[in-house]
Amino acid sequence: MESIFKTSKINYLTPENAQFSKTEGGLLYCKWVESEQQKAKRKEDEKKFAKDKASKKSDKGADKAKDECDKPEGVVKLHRAFPFVTPTEYISVFKDDDEVGIIKDIMLFDETTRQLLGAELKRVYFSPIITKINTIKERYGFSYWEVTTDKGKLDFAVADTYRNIIKLGKNRLKIIDQDANRYEISDYTKLDKGSIKMLEMYI
């Protein structure tokens, strides 16, 4: 196992090597210290780019884009590696399509950063947690749900209900509605009896 860790060099972001802030537009901004690999890659890219520049007269647009791309800072996006198991740990940080690094645990950061990261996660993940099922009506192959969630009361339609209720682990359920919105039930056995009865038909 040791060898796996040695060869795969994951860049873990910690308070020591990464700083997060918010842009004027409300997006998450990150400044980080590059890993050896990233540094090496950037150097290579720069070399290549210098060559390109030399061969081509001027392409200012591309120049600027390239410069920005290589700086170890910019607007980033968060993506959970294990969204259902560790929602605040192992969070991948992306700049455009490249992974900058992984935050092992949000708790490692100070309060302000934690809030910043938490808010960003709330912005990019929306999956209301169903706490009570009020009704499920079935008509013509669709099921119409009225539920109470942590975000308030919601109603939605699910096509092909059996297939769109997905069991994650033992008792956790993910429901995908007709518009591809997601809803979660963290433990369906802990819902009230009425809800379980309605749900039981599908699981």
Binding site: E24, G25, K48, S55, R123, F126, D179, E200
Partner: protein
């Protein structure tokens, strides 16, 4: 211009809000729960972007080169915002082209929505800069929604009618079935009549004519007891005859019924399958193959069963029930009520029971399918299981699902057997009460033995039809579900070329400003333009997921572009008739599907009337002949599901032969040689060069060496054509292509 607005439903931290995105011409206001929270000047906004996240989307506005979050919404609203974004950006781009945009500084102050009409007057200034025609989209959107709602309602109403209309071609069958049924019922109800007559007139110690018996004597005077013994045997003989006739009628009815059922199912299957073939790929890919197979097989079966058996049966049963009830009431209404009331209670209870059990049976069905799925899953992955030695774990997994199925089935079975006897007892109680009341009446001299018996028998006959009649709504609901699924496909508009043009394709292809995305909020190709002359070979290069296959699929007209056009010899691709197009376009894909059948059939798939000579020639050109001829059955070797297993390279060579035989004017090679080893690929290159000679070819390839001879190579990156030119030009350019070539060279060195 009036105020235009879109709705959104989420706040920045994912809370639910009543959001309104209000376009005021010069300014955009964003209101959450009635309060304007943000305000933007339209001219400041360079462009909009919909960022799709997980279960939530954000509308971002680019201002001074930096993105700002405008609002958040769930997927329900994403289409609206995507369409808005697309048109806004397009209008903005056009406006840029015009130049000299009139700058209007709308106040950015946040005032309460409703008093914002002040700004509207100023919008004239901006409209010079930005083409506002796209704004009608907002209105259209509402219209479309309204239309959809109406359509939805009419579909629901119309399904039953449509379903019944499927029987239109079988009027004679239906008439025969109804006629036969009526006859049967008369006999069914008639037999107890004769019974009564038999008992009262011949068997009863006191010969007396009851009402029922009188009816018989009046109808059939020869069955009266003039000569007792002869008459007795005549009645028995008559009854026997009736029973015999009833059986024959039953048989004929079932036969007619069955014939009609199979025919209706066939009609439905065929029209459904024809429809599925006619739909464009885009519609097709909306549904899984499994769902479509399910619809063609089980849903059609379900509907035909309903139409031929359940519907006819239920209607018949209703008629029978009414017939018997009327008869009972006419003969003795007190007796009739004594029989009917407990029956109604039982039926009510049964209905409740079925409702409850339906859920449980559903669960049983789901457990059953889960168990099967687990088995299929494990067996298909048996190699992996063996390799990692996890047999025990998989056995346990299967045992668990299997036990779960047993538990559910067992408990369902138990419930049925607990409840069933009691319900049945209740049915008989009604009959016993009737018997009791009849007995009392008999002793009082109000009824004859025959009459009492008649009521007793008829009461038993009433049970079945009433239960069946009560089932009708459920059957109807179930088959309506199936019917809806089927009509959803049948009613889908066919893909039809706008104008059925036929033309002899020369091979000139022009792609102008092509934009396309599978989902409205995710553009795959943005404003792509490309042209190829007859005989050109265009190499297409790019990262996985860049949109190479999408581009060629569009050229093949498997999808319709969102905007822009593809011209074949200056004729819009969308206007060319299907037959004409397919006859002159050919494609060799990366993952080539061979149908179950012989190699011969597979090669000649594109040209069924090809001669053996042609087939061998095509196979030789494709370097397939040498391996085919070595097979035991040569070209007649069966491949596919049950047949000989071909390697990826062999399959590929057969499909190249298929394309060669098809002899298309325009050829698309989508990774056509990727599953071949370098050696074979080299051999096939020759074949491919023959294939591409004198015809316009679009070739996607990861192995860049195969594209060396292309007339032009285009590199697709970031939804656009990033570079284009000949191999040498691109190498000199030292851009993306150069880097790719370098990387592959390194790989080669590395491999050595």
């Amino acid at each position: 211009m009036s105020k235009k607005e879109l709705q959104f439903n989420l706040g920045v931290d994912g809370t639910l809000v009543q959001g309104r995105f209000i376009y005021l011409g010069t300014r955009i206001d964003v209101a959450e729960n009635g309060e304007v929270v943000k305000s933007y000047c339209v001219l400041d906004i360079e462009k909009f972007k919909v960022e799709a996240n997980i279960g939530i989307c954000s509308l971002l506005a680019k201002i001074n080169g930096e993105y700002h979050i405008v609002c958040n919404f769930s997927n329900k609203y994403s289409t609206h915002f995507s369409v808005f974004t697309k048109y806004f950006n397009h209008a903005k781009k056009k406006a840029k082209g015009v130049g000299g945009v009139a700058r209007d500084t709308a106040s950015g102050g946040a005032d309460v929505v409703g008093s914002s009409d002040v700004v509207v007057g100023a919008s004239g200034a901006v409209s010079e800069g930005i083409d506002q025609s796209w704004l009608q989209l907002f209105d259209e959107d509402e219209d479309v929604k309204e239309e959809e709602r109406k359509k939805d309602a009419s579909i629901r109403k119309g399904t039953f009618g449509k379903m019944v209309r499927l029987m239109r071609g079988y009027r004679k069958h239906v008439a025969a079935i109804v006629g036969l049924n009526i006859l049967t019922y008369i006999i069914i109800v008639g037999i107890p009549f004769f019974n009564t007559h038999l008992i009262d007139s011949f068997l009863s110690p006191i010969y007396e004519q009851s009402d029922v018996s009188l009816v018989i004597t009046n109808l059939f005077p020869f069955l009266s007891h003039s000569d007792t013994l002869t008459a007795f045997f005549m009645v028995i003989g008559f009854m026997l005859g009736l029973i015999f006739i009833r059986s024959i009628l039953h048989g004929i009815r079932n036969l007619v019924n069955g014939l009609m059922g199979h025919n209706i199912a066939r009609d439905l299957r065929q029209s459904l399958f024809n429809k599925v073939q006619a739909l464009s790929i885009k519609n097709f890919s909306k549904r899984s193959t499994g769902a479509i197979i399910n619809r063609t097989v089980s849903d059609t079966e379900r509907i035909s069963r309903f139409l031929t058996f359940e519907l006819v049966h239920a209607i018949n049963q209703v008629i029978l029930a009414v017939l018997i009830l009327a008869l009972l009431l006419w003969l003795n209404w007190v007796m009739a009520l004594i029989i009917v009331v407990p029956l109604l209670i039982v039926i009510f209870a049964l209905n409740r029971y079925f409702k409850y059990m339906r859920k449980r049976y559903n669960k049983q069905w789901a457990a059953g399918s889960k168990s099967t799925n687990t088995l299929v899953d494990i067996l298909s992955g048996i190699r992996v299981v063996k390799v990692f030695g996890t047999e025990q774990r998989e056995v346990e997994r299967f045992v668990k699902t299997s036990e779960n199925l047993r538990d559910i089935s067992e408990s369902n079975e138990k419930i049925w057997h607990y409840i069933h006897p009691y319900l049945m007892a209740l049915v008989f109680i009604g009959q016993f009460i009737a018997l009791y009341y009849g007995g009392v009446q008999y002793f009082a001299g109000n009824m004859t033995i025959g009459e009492v018996l008649f009521f007793y028998i008829v009461a038993g006959m009433l049970f079945d039809p009433l239960v069946n009649a009560a089932n009708l709504p459920r059957w109807m609901a179930e088959s309506m579900t199936s019917a809806n699924k089927i009509f959803e496909i049948l009613d889908e508009p066919d893909y039809k070329p706008k104008d059925n043009k036929t033309l002899e394709i020369e091979g000139q292809v022009d792609i102008n400003n092509l934009t396309f995305g599978y989902k409205p909020y995710k553009t795959i190709l943005n404003d792509v333009s490309l042209s190829a002359k007859k005989g050109d070979m265009i190499g297409i290069v790019g990262k996985t997921g860049a949109g190479k296959s999408t581009l060629v699929s569009l050229i093949m007209r498997l999808y319709t572009p969102d905007s822009g056009e593809i011209l074949l010899d200056d004729v819009n691709l969308q206007d060319i008739s299907e037959d004409c197009l397919r006859a002159q376009l050919g494609m060799v894909m990366q993952d080539n599907y061979l149908f179950s059948g012989s190699i011969l059939e597979n090669i000649s798939y594109s040209k069924p009337d090809a001669t053996e000579e042609e087939i061998i020639a095509a196979a030789t050109l494709a370097n397939a002949h040498e391996f085919i001829i070595k097979l035991e059955d040569g070209y007649n070797t069966i491949v596919g599901e049950k047949g000989y297993t071909l390697s990826g390279g062999e399959r590929q060579r057969i499909s190249i032969a298929r394309a060669l035989l098809h002899n298309p004017k325009i050829l698309v090679l989508d990774e056509a040689t990727s599953s071949l080893d370098t050696e074979t690929e080299k051999d096939i290159q020759g074949a491919l060069q023959t294939l591409t000679k004198d015809r316009t070819t679009f070739a996607i390839a990861h192995r860049l060496s195969t594209l060396r001879h292309s007339t032009k190579i285009v590199v697709i990156a970031d939804n656009k054509i990033a570079e284009s030119g000949t191999h040498e030009q691109l190498l000199n350019h030292k851009g993306i292509y150069y880097n790719l070539v370098q990387a592959q060279k390194e790989m080669l060195v590395f491999n050595k």
